[in-house]
């Protein structure tokens, strides 16, 4: 019984230790929203589960047919190291656009993903 009590205590200790841990940065929320239909946005805003390193992270935007839509250099939002913002250089015409992102979290784990939104 003592061994199992120790195991449970160890599990709890690890669980609590996790509160201080970093992890792979995963996309929690995006603006424009994943799969959303929006008016022409000024920026791509990506909210991750972890802080990201903007120097090593990348965001690209492509329209229908694969044509690249120019973006400014991504930067983190002031006071929110988990939010990556890439300004859109030119107004987007109506159509479907695909965002590709590659994020490097502050503990150097790499993650990537893509999603589409529609400009009406």
């Amino acid at each position: 019984m003592r061994i199992f009590t120790l195991k449970v205590a160890a599990s709890l200790a690890f669980a609590l230790a996790a509160t201080q841990a970093y992890a792979h940065a995963q996309l929690e929320k995006a603006t424009p929203a994943v799969g959303g239909m929006v008016t022409p946005p000024n920026e791509i805003r990506l909210e991750f589960s972890e802080g990201v390193e903007p120097k090593f992270s990348k965001v690209t935007l492509r329209g229908a047919g694969g044509a690249a839509a120019p973006l400014g250099a991504p930067k983190v939002e002031a006071g929110h190291p988990n939010v990556l913002i890439a300004p859109i250089a030119k107004p987007l015409a109506p159509g479907v656009y695909t965002v590709h992102w590659h994020a490097v979290s502050v503990d150097t784990h790499h993650t990537q993903g893509n999603f589409s939104f529609t400009v009406k």
Binding site: A18, Q26, V34
Partner: protein, 308 residues
């Protein structure tokens, strides 16, 4: 010994404590796909992880006994794609008694990940060590059991836009042959089995990040899953009856840990009777201790092979 209801309370307490953790995700990563740790079969990656505890209960294990198992598993990377694992744990059977399962170790290599296809696989060699079990799990002889293992995972993220709601699906599989070191011990046969299984999972974290936003913090971290396992005697067994289980359940992925709960449904009478349950708390050590315990011993490899 804690009774099963108290174990349930203990697990609930652990989960409640873990719920304080900052939400995020983990784990075996290939391209856009993150394959979670699964309970019935191994995931297709090489990781630094700790499963502690894994608890299961079945009302009738096929031998007519109620069975309660507790176990742990620790996996450690040697190089980025080469790892080892150690697992063991106690078993209680009624009728039957108590025993500590033999020590199980595996060396595992993940040679390939195709990011665009969200496909990865790993090969391993598992050894169950003779003489390390006790009580009801002591075994009848001194032979080790050797198992070459293949694990694979495939995400459906490359499906066309018209099938985007199917993209969160993924399948993982495992195939192994468990061969005892000796065919016979004290006049009793030692059976060789072909074991295989697969999982079908639908990742709501993937749905949220790739298909459409989920506006619920709890739901977007769930992965509904069905795991299926089979074991077929292929040598030194009569009759050769395949046993197995179907395990529907759900995984909750958080920052550096996950918790999973599944039902255990036997596929036939030889596999058991009644519905059991299995739960696991799983920690991602590479996220908890990224610079020490959770990194490969040789983080840049040894130059022997890709990733090694």
């Amino acid at each position: 010994m804690l009774s099963p209801p108290r174990w349930g309370l203990a697990l609930a307490a652990i989960c409640a404590g873990a719920g304080l953790a900052t939400p995020a995700f983990a784990h075996s990563v290939c391209g856009d796909r993150i394959f979670p740790a699964t309970l019935a079969i191994d995931d297709p990656g090489v990781n630094d992880e700790l499963a502690l505890p894994t608890l299961s209960w079945v009302p009738n294990n096929g031998d007519g006994a109620q069975e309660f198992d507790a176990s742990f598993a620790w996996t450690k990377t040697i190089t980025p794609r080469l790892g080892i694992s150690v697992s063991a744990g106690p078993t209680w059977q009624h009728p039957g008694g108590y025993g500590w399962a033999p020590l199980d170790t595996e060396i595992k290599y993940q040679p390939l990940c195709i990011p665009e296809a969200e496909f990865m696989f790993a090969v391993g060699f598992d050894v169950t060590w003779a003489g390390t079990g006790t009580g009801t799990q002591a075994g009848a002889g001194s032979q080790n059991t050797y198992s070459p293992v293949l694990n694979a995972g495939l995400g459906f993220g490359s499906l066309p836009e018209s099938m985007k709601y199917l993209r969160p699906f993924a399948i993982t599989s495992q195939f192994d042959v468990a061969a005892p070191g000796r065919d016979w011990t004290n006049g009793e046969p030692n059976t060789t089995t072909f074991d295989w299984g697969f999982t079908l999972q639908y990742s709501l974290p993937y749905f949220n990040a790739h298909v459409a936003e989920i506006d619920n913090a709890f739901l977007k971290r769930l992965i509904p899953i069905v795991e299926v396992t089979f074991s077929t005697p292929i040598h030194n067994a009569a009759p050769q009856i395949t046993t197995g289980t179907v395990q529907p359940g759900v995984i909750y992925e958080a920052g550096s840990w996950q918790v999973a709960l599944e039902a255990i449904i036997p596929i036939n009478g030889a596999s058991g009777h009644g519905v059991g349950v299995i739960g696991e708390l799983h920690f991602f050590l590479d996220d908890i201790f990224p610079n020490t315990l959770g990194r490969p011993i040789f983080p840049h490899g040894l130059g022997i092979a890709p990733g090694i």
